[in-house]
């Protein structure tokens, strides 16, 4: 299938997803489940990687800002900018594309090949809407929380490094507060909303059109992760151009 066929098929799928749910109560129940499954179960991962990356960035910034001409607080400041602008939205979402994206694609793909989706359709359920809408809504709702968590724990990781004596903790704290632009947080959150939509919808697409056996579900899940990552990177450039430059 070529690129345009994919886009057409994806658009048709999304048209089916964004219709009025047959039962609002059922949607609500599914929505809460998805928040739990994709969001809450990603918090620990988010915290761990953010602390580690925050620490590593801080150490690198210490080296990069060793110049005596630069004030000491620059280390904290640059760490903060890196985390806020790029890591806690784009890189975090790339990592989550691996976790959440493969999870969504394999779940829906398995339902496809075991005829569960046919079963839904024969009952008269709008399968696209019932299965995919709560996943998209759930992940888009929870992603800002994950992004904020990531920012906080990334900065905390830097502070922990400062406590080990690589740089002065007070200088670090001063640096991460210096010339703070709240819009950077907004920018990151806006980007992450797009990324969450990309991850959940693209992965659903690959799962929904899986065909064949278990092997195909694996392929669908790989395709979901690879392609949502590429689309995220593409949108990162576009959104940065629109929102920041």
């Amino acid at each position: 299938m070529n690129f345009f066929e994919h886009v057409g098929k994806y658009s048709r799928l999304m048209a089916g997803v964004f219709t009025k749910p047959q039962r609002w109560g059922v949607l609500w129940k599914q929505y809460l489940k998805e928040i739990e499954k994709q969001g809450l179960q990603s918090i620990l991962l988010t915290i761990i990687i953010s602390i580690f990356i925050g620490s590593a960035i801080t150490m690198q910034m210490v080296l990069n800002t060793e110049n005596p001409m630069l004030p000491k607080y620059v280390t904290g400041l640059t760490t903060r900018e890196t985390l806020l602008l790029e890591f806690s939205s784009t890189i975090l979402c790339l990592i989550l594309a691996g976790k959440v994206g493969s999870n969504i694609a394999s779940e829906i793909g398995t339902m496809r090949i075991t005829e569960q989706i046919d079963a839904l359709k024969i009952m008269g359920v709008n399968a696209e809407n019932y299965l995919i809408l709560p996943k998209i809504l759930g992940f888009v709702t929870i992603i800002p929380v994950l992004v904020i968590f990531s920012m906080f724990f990334g900065l905390l990781g830097g502070y922990i490094i400062a406590l080990t004596g690589v740089l002065s903790p007070s200088q670090y704290v001063m640096g991460i507060q210096y010339a703070f632009n709240p819009y950077y947080v907004t920018y990151s959150v806006i980007k992450s909303l797009f990324f969450a939509f990309i991850i959940s919808s693209v992965s659903s697409y690959y799962g929904y059109y899986a065909y064949g056996g278990a092997l195909e579900v694996g392929k669908a899940s790989t395709n979901a992760v690879v392609n949502s990552s590429i689309i995220i990177l593409l949108f990162n450039v576009i959104l940065t151009d629109l929102l920041l430059v």
Partner: protein, 253 residues
């Protein structure tokens, strides 16, 4: 009652169903039998409306499937239950939640009535003790029974079963067959079963339609099947060595 009138169905150049007519009666288990690749599944899917037929009519109690509006098809869906070859239970839900799902989606009755209905259906298929288990935690035969409970929870008028015995041992197959047969008579359902299992034919074949290479080869009931005089049907019926031996044994006597 479902009537199929002069149905023809092709995929591209390949004509899979040729001018098939049949009547599937209510309260009876109607079997579609035939060799692998003869067109049983395509016929069933055409009747359900998953495939659109090229020619002919499908009538659900006189209502022409092709002339129904989208809304009417939606209502018809609620009158249809289907048992899939692989059960197709939702594996993120327990047995009980699976059976309850169609009610949650479509029923306007109270929660209490849902509970009662779910309990009734689970009891009817003998799975009350497994209500809280997940599909992965129960055997293939139990999964089939759970799927039957889910298929009948909305009190369907029409029940479709595509090879309900595939992957089951002969004894479990028999229980599933009998369950389908009893439920059909009990609730006056029009049931259509695809099978190539001769044990099923003998057990529950109230009415049998034989499809051969896309044509209707024969129609009758399980008792007249041995006197069909149709060579293709005999080849299918006596395909197994066991039957051949039984036949020989009877001829000797």
């Amino acid at each position: 009652m479902i009537e199929v009138k002069n149905v023809t169905k092709s995929f591209g150049d390949l004509t899979v169903l040729h001018d098939i007519s049949a009547v599937f009666e209510s309260g009876k288990t109607n079997l579609i039998i035939g060799q692998s690749g003869s067109g049983k599944t395509v016929l069933m899917k055409s009747v359900i409306g998953i495939h659109q037929v090229d020619e002919g009519q499908i009538l659900y109690d006189g209502r022409d499937l092709a002339k129904m509006t989208k809304k009417e098809v939606g209502i018809l869906r609620r009158e249809v239950g289907m048992l899939f070859q692989g059960s197709a239970l939702f594996d993120s839900m327990t047995v009980e939640q699976n059976v309850r799902f169609p009610l949650e989606m479509f029923s306007d009755k109270s929660k209490q009535e849902w509970d009662d209905r779910v309990a009734f259906c689970l009891n009817r298929v003998g799975l009350s003790h497994a209500a809280k288990l997940y599909p992965a935690e129960i055997s293939g035969g139990m999964q089939k029974r759970a799927a039957i409970a889910r298929a009948i929870v909305l009190q369907p008028k029409y029940l479709f079963c595509d090879e309900p015995n595939s992957g089951l041992d002969p004894k479990t197959s028999l229980t599933i067959d009998q369950l389908i047969h009893e439920i059909t008579a009990e609730f006056d359902i029009t049931t259509i079963v695809n099978t190539h299992d001769m044990n099923s034919v003998m057990e529950i074949g109230d009415k049998v339609i034989f499809i051969h290479k896309g044509y209707k080869g024969w129609e009758g009931d399980k008792d007249s099947i041995f006197e069909s005089g149709n060579q293709d049907l005999e080849d299918l019926v006596f395909a197994s060595n066991l039957y051949k031996k039984v036949k020989k044994y009877h001829n000797l006597k």
